[in-house]
């Protein structure tokens, strides 16, 4: 008697190396080669902004809070972006703001992704119908609030400033990740390598931590890129409303709010911070779209 299996070429080890594990093996150069045009443009734009935000404040003789010249100087040789309404160097302020905004956005994304993924994956382990209904309701309710309004509401209760803003973002954003994580972990439980792990007698916890979580996390990371844009908009938006980062701290949204008063006569006060704010968002958006297309292409 001969018994042949359906997929004899696949060894047990292959099935156990989960998709997330394979990603880690790739080098940086190979990642660049795999990117499409859109993703490459995104990387170039983001790298440019990061470099500028590191080196401009570092190499410039003035600091972002210093009154260097007469206020409202138009862009020129000495001050490429001109000076603002208090006579500060706009170039330095724009890139000091880039540092702060990108840092805040990273902080704003990273905490919800960890909390959300963890809670969502745990929620994915239950099959109790009542618990599922309640969970759906909870997540739907939290995500039903218009994002900025919920953040505003929490900021009103907690306090203004950077800390209040971050807390508000964390409280309001985790549910998105929890939703994604739950859906993904539900799907993963049926996946071959998880089933194999069960058969091999691994403990529930080990399967959850070693096999399900890394894959859920890579899915959440993909969403985090588009969320990053939104967080930047929230940070900028609340600061624009005077409820986030406050002047004189250089922040794009706050700078737009200040420059808005001089819109008629000195439009460069809003053009420069607004341009780099948009450019950052466009860079992230291009990267996200490019990566999405790549992953779609791999599946199809």
């Amino acid at each position: 008697m001969t018994i042949e299996s359906g997929a004899p070429s696949r060894s047990l080890r292959d099935t156990l190396v989960s998709p997330a594990g394979r990603l880690r093996l790739l080098g940086l150069g190979r990642i660049w080669q795999q990117l499409n045009a859109e993703a490459r443009w995104g990387v170039v734009i983001l790298a440019l902004i990061l470099l500028l935000s590191v080196f401009v404040p570092l190499l410039s003789p003035s600091d972002p809070y210093e009154f260097v010249d007469l206020p409202l100087q138009p862009p020129g040789a000495t001050y490429p972006f001109g000076t603002d309404h208090l006579g500060r160097d706009l170039l330095v302020r724009v890139f000091a703001a880039a540092r702060l905004d990108i840092l805040l956005a990273i902080l704003g994304v990273s905490v919800p992704i960890v909390i959300g993924t963890f809670i969502g994956t745990l929620a994915g382990t239950t099959r109790n119908r009542i618990a599922e209904t309640l969970w759906d309701g909870l997540v739907n309710a939290l995500t039903a609030f218009p994002e900025i309004i919920l953040v505003l509401g929490i900021v009103a209760m907690v306090e203004g400033g950077v800390r209040g803003l971050l807390i508000a973002i964390w409280i309001s954003r985790w549910a998105q990740y929890a939703r994604i994580a739950r859906a993904k972990s539900l799907a993963l439980r049926e996946a071959e390598f998880v089933q194999t792990a069960h058969v091999l007698g691994y403990s529930q916890l080990r399967i959850l931590v070693r096999h399900i979580m890394p894959n859920v996390f890579s899915e959440a990371l993909a969403y985090a890129l588009s969320d990053f844009i939104f967080i930047i908009v929230i940070i900028g938006g609340l600061s624009f409303l005077g409820l986030g980062v406050r002047p004189p701290t250089p922040e794009w949204g706050a700078m737009l709010a200040e420059g808005r008063l001089y819109l008629r006569t000195e439009p460069w006060l809003i053009l420069f911070p607004g341009f780099f704010l948009s450019l950052t968002a466009i860079g992230v958006a291009l990267l996200a779209r490019g990566l999405e297309q790549i992953s779609k292409g791999e599946e199809g």
Partner: protein
């Protein structure tokens, strides 16, 4: 010879099966037989209609029940919001100089006196009666403040949605039909740029362009009254649409591309269907459902942006009220607006689902 015998045999077998399946059918020549009921849906009888009706009603009720649960949880969140405040809210509002009587009166005003469960009970029953408390600032009922500011926000929403439809439909169709020409490529790039530009920057740019340079709109402010208000609303609405239109046009585009390869489109061409009828019935209508669903999905984002837009363009709507209330720490007003905005989004999503079901009878409501 062999083959012909085989045909006859298999023919018999089929006939027998046919009789097995529909014993009650009076055979009128065989060709006119109604196909045997293969599933619940395929049988075609009056009972079928009753069944459809029940089925149709069923998912809607389920969806409605879900919406009610979500609305209740929204209320719980709104209730908890004020409890997020570290320390004693009354103390924060009144400062150190407050007397004990003042503090007690303030706690009562905020609904934070007594044990938590009785607070919650009171909150629920008040909200159910439409009582969201009094504004700390003006001592006016929260609901009447919102009611006064609501028309501006509603006008803004209506103008925005009108503009969205007018812009997104033709853009999406054009982007689908001409996707391989220069228009398609330009559309992709421009859409990416517009989607990523934050509204508070694009708003300022549009003011610079249309209000400062050519004064087609006021730089800020609101003119009440119907035709006059459009003059102050079209630019804010356009700003929101800078984000909304590219997103929806893209969804519509890919949906139309998918539809156009369907066989029923070919069947319609062969039938000789032409003109607006062809475009509306065979390309647009079957493609609209995902776009409407997306509109429901983006409702929350649009309401969010409306807040910022109201500030930029100085429109005295609910968004501006909210920002003022946050600045003044007017807790009941903030709480009321946050809750109602959530409720609004739940309502909009629900409506989008209903419209969806009407547009595409296949779409199962989940």
């Amino acid at each position: 010879m062999r083959s012909e015998r085989a045909t006859a045999r298999s023919g018999n077998r089929d006939l027998e099966r046919d009789q097995d399946r529909q014993p009650s059918q009076s055979g009128d020549g065989g060709h006119a037989n109604i196909p045997p009921p293969t599933s619940h849906f395929s049988s075609f009888s009056p009972r079928f209609y009753a069944g459809t009706l029940r089925l149709l009603r069923h998912p809607v009720t389920r969806r409605l029940a879900q919406a009610v649960l979500v609305a209740f949880l929204l209320m719980v969140f709104a209730f908890l919001l004020v409890r997020l405040i570290p320390g004693d809210p009354a103390m924060i509002l009144l400062g150190d100089v407050a007397t004990e009587e003042d503090l007690i009166a303030y706690r009562k005003l905020l609904g934070i006196d007594g044990p938590l469960h009785s607070q919650f009970g009171r909150y629920i029953s008040n909200v159910a009666r439409g009582d969201f408390g009094l504004s700390i600032r003006s001592r006016e009922p929260v609901l009447s403040i919102i009611g006064k500011r609501l028309p501006v926000s509603l006008w803004l929403t209506a103008t925005t949605i009108f503009m969205t439809v007018v812009l997104a439909l033709p853009l999406g169709v054009a982007a689908a039909l001409y996707r391989r020409t220069w228009f398609g490529h330009v559309f992709q790039i421009v859409a990416s740029v517009f989607v990523a530009t934050p509204v508070f920057f694009s708003g300022l740019l549009l003011i610079l362009l249309f209000a400062v340079q050519v004064s087609l709109a006021p730089i800020a402010g609101y003119y009440p009254g119907f035709p006059a208000n459009l003059y102050s609303l079209w630019l804010p609405a356009l700003t929101i649409n800078c984000v909304l239109v590219p997103v929806l046009a893209r969804i519509l585009q890919s949906s139309i591309i998918e539809t156009s390869s369907e066989e029923f489109v070919e069947a319609a061409i062969i039938r000789g269907t032409q003109g607006w009828r062809f475009y509306w019935r065979y390309l647009l209508r079957p493609s609209l459902a995902p776009t409407i669903a997306a509109l429901g999905y983006f409702a929350a984002t649009v309401v969010s942006y409306a807040v910022i837009i109201e500030i930029i363009f100085n429109l005295p709507g609910v968004g501006m009220t909210l920002v003022d209330a946050v600045r003044n720490r007017d807790y009941p007003l903030v709480q009321g607006i946050v809750f109602l905005s959530g409720l609004l989004v739940v309502g909009l999503t629900f409506t989008a689902d209903l419209v969806n079901g009407w547009l595409d009878p296949r779409a199962k409501m989940r």
